[in-house]
Assembly symmetry: C2
């Protein structure tokens, strides 16, 4: 039978299954997954232990029950274990904010992984076909969205979710089932769940087939080439990642513009996507358009600018640096009071304050340690973030300067300005932490107040 | 005016034009190219010298003349030089075997390059728009063909052909012309020339716009990302090329399977395309399908196999090697007669034959030099390619062996077997050139006939 040969080839090429493995087979009752199940039972040489698993999404009560019973019957007929879970996809859609299709998928895979653990199984097999592949690629092509974009559904994901039918057309599976006299159910919930996919399947693909009758194969193939490219570029980008980015806060990355600009476009695009994924947790709703506009900002001569992404993610450029972060992280303000010498550990700042004897000629060059005249500096000392209107007299100067102006002259990126701890004594700024001491508070004799900033955040 | 700003941005980003350059502007008379011409005259800061160039493809005699006159008038109005060429695209289509669209394009660019030289100009500008870009990408997406596939029309090709409107939509250009009261002609030959493109423009794109109203921008953007990936991978592949391939004949490459297999898929795909392009001269009619099946053959455990491409191009694998060549090159048979000592230079073989004195213990280890017993070897000596049925007694053996069997045992790829010169004396094989001497002709005394193969072909 030709279809078995083709599936075997796919399994071999992508190293999907190995003899003796236990495989959780996701069976909806539709032609694809029923076909998958029967085909796997026919691949005797693999000697697989199959576990039939079905998720009732609770979208159409009656029909859902019918489908579950149908799949259970198949399992019984094949003498295979049957695992069922009833879930509430509609409820989860509401609480999660996902689309119904996504919500259903998340719940489905959750259950399959649970069954995988329970049976100590090696693989989860799903019935995705070449039709699904083509539809997915077309959908992303049209949307211009998705990180891996045009590369479509991976034949293997997470190393253990396998799709042995990914190179088989739905018509082939139906023909196989019909020839064997095996029935299936039409899953109307599919049609309910994904409107766009259904329009693509029923309206657009027939249109495209007029241009190329083998459009599905063609598109699946181009997906394969693009997937290989993506993988290669991702591997290269992974190597460059630590050269461009460093982590400051958790879920925040600061990058160096110069290193970034020195890379080829393709790597830059990949690096942006990787950075966003780390900060945002995923790449949902991030499109080509975002990636390109971010790259244009970063690679251009413009010294500063900001780009906003969904989920409060922000990309900000400032002089030599840029940051991939969340709005909330960049807007954090703070103000803490220090009323005596000692170690002070606040949520966003950690400092050590002590009186010490030191002569002017001995002052160490560590910019994160400041020495102030003990006679002039009084408690309480406040350590706080920048406020509009702040002014001080920079060391060596005679007149007040706006801190904002000082930041601009020093080319401190706007997004880092709130991170710099400003120390005041009796309401007057004594130190732009790590940057410049105030003339008025500078060490004059030998007795100093020493402030050390531990773990600076910029 | 917003359109000028956008064009400026495109020109800057892709470094298309520099102040004071002389630019050949291809103007068909259609909205796009007329728009391009006017926009370029408006970009005063570039201070360009524009040369209006028009090609009459001779497809519709009357209309062609009207268009040429229309463009000439525009040039006169703008006080710019006008260059016209009448060509016979239909005739060239027939002789070249190209499609009418391709034939017309070849002739058009030929003329533009001619004008470029004549004016000592720096650039050729064409009026390709974002619409053309989207159409091209969709066309290739549907066909699955084309080397750069989904990356579309490059904003700059060959370093000097520039497309300043590649990010502008046709409707924007028409609006610009209407606002300025500038007319254009509808080029009906366009519609004649490219049937598929027109169907895509008028049937498919409106369909796609129902899914995504900004489909053209979306697709153009995905093309930009893919172009960057392609470029990056090509650069990497270029570095690997000499490690995998060596040239034997002109327009023939022999590759090492082991090195090839050690590379990531994406580089392998790119290397195959580059090799085919070198041998075939172009990548026309080479699709993803070819690339994938070639890679599967080469990367698989199968020891030998052949894949045929258009234009007689062949990819053949044999044990440790593979070749990208032309059928004719692999099928070449030869037979030459050597009737006395001396240097013999034949089209496919070059040898030096002389009598010499040498003792068995002194025999050098150069496999391309054979020593035969002078007493047993007689002229004429024939040097020829392998023939089915050939047999000889390999040195050290007692019985005849089929040469074909010998080749198989020695793992000589099938595609190289015809290249190995076989030397016969009086109809009997004395030497499988460079590989094994025949037992019957081996050197017994001191007087030898020495045959040296110069420039072996395998």
């Amino acid at each position: 039978m030709k279809i078995l040969e083709k599936v075997r080839e796919t399994i071999e090429r992508f190293k999907m299954l190995f003899p003796g493995e236990t495989v959780i087979v996701g069976v909806s009752g539709g032609a694809d997954s029923v076909g998958l199940l029967y085909i796997l039972t026919e691949l005797k040489e693999y000697n697989l232990k199959l576990i039939v698993s079905h998720v009732n999404h609770g979208i159409r009560a009656e029909e859902g029950k019918r489908d579950a019973e149908f799949v259970e019957q198949i399992a019984r007929k094949l003498n295979l274990p049957f695992e069922l879970k009833n879930v509430d996809a509609i409820g989860f859609k509401k609480t999660s904010g996902l689309s119904l299709e996504e919500a259903a998928r998340v719940l489905r895979y959750e259950f399959f992984k649970e069954v995988l653990k329970r049976y100590e199984a090696q693989k989860i097999a799903t019935g995705h076909t070449l039709d699904d592949q083509a539809e997915t690629i077309i959908m992303r092509f049209i949307r211009g969205s998705g990180a891996l974009g045009l590369s479509g559904i991976p034949p293997v994901s997470e190393g253990y979710i396998v799709r042995p039918l990914i190179e088989i057309k739905k018509v082939e599976i139906k023909a196989y089932l019909q020839e064997k006299g095996i029935g299936w159910v039409e899953d109307s919930s599919n049609r309910l769940m994904d409107f766009t996919r259904n329009r693509i399947r029923h309206k657009l693909i027939p249109q495209l087939e007029k241009f190329n009758p083998r459009i599905k194969e063609t598109i699946a193939r181009s997906g394969e080439i693009i997937r290989a490219q993506e993988e290669f570029i991702r591997t290269e980008a992974q190597e460059q990642f630590p050269k461009v980015f460093q982590s400051t806060e958790e879920h925040e990355l600061v990058g160096t513009i110069r290193t970034y600009k020195s890379l080829p476009e393709a790597l830059r695009f990949a690096l942006i996507r990787m950075a966003i994924e780390k900060v945002k947790g995923n790449l949902r709703q991030v499109s080509y358009k975002h990636i390109l506009s971010i790259d244009r900002l970063l690679a251009s001569e413009v010294p500063s600018g900001e780009i906003f992404l969904p989920q409060e993610v922000i990309i900000a450029k400032g002089y030599a640096l840029f940051v991939v972060s969340r709005k909330s992280l960049l807007k954090q303000e703070f103000s803490y009071t220090i009323d005596s010498p000692g170690k002070w550990k606040f949520p966003l700042v950690e400092v050590e304050v002590e009186f010490t004897e030191i002569s002017l000629s001995e002052l160490p060059k560590d910019r994160f340690t400041g020495f102030f005249d003990a006679g002039l500096t009084g408690f309480p000392i406040e350590v706080r973030s920048f406020r509009p209107g702040d002014r001080f007299i920079p060391l060596g100067m005679k007149k007040f300067k706006k801190v904002k102006r000082f930041f601009i002259d020093e080319k401190v990126p706007r997004f880092l300005r709130r991170r710099i701890p400003i120390f005041t004594s009796k309401g007057e700024i004594m130190w732009i932490g790590g940057m410049r001491i105030d003339e008025r508070f500078k060490l004059r004799g030998k007795r100093a107040l020493e402030i050390k900033i531990i773990k600076p955040r910029w």
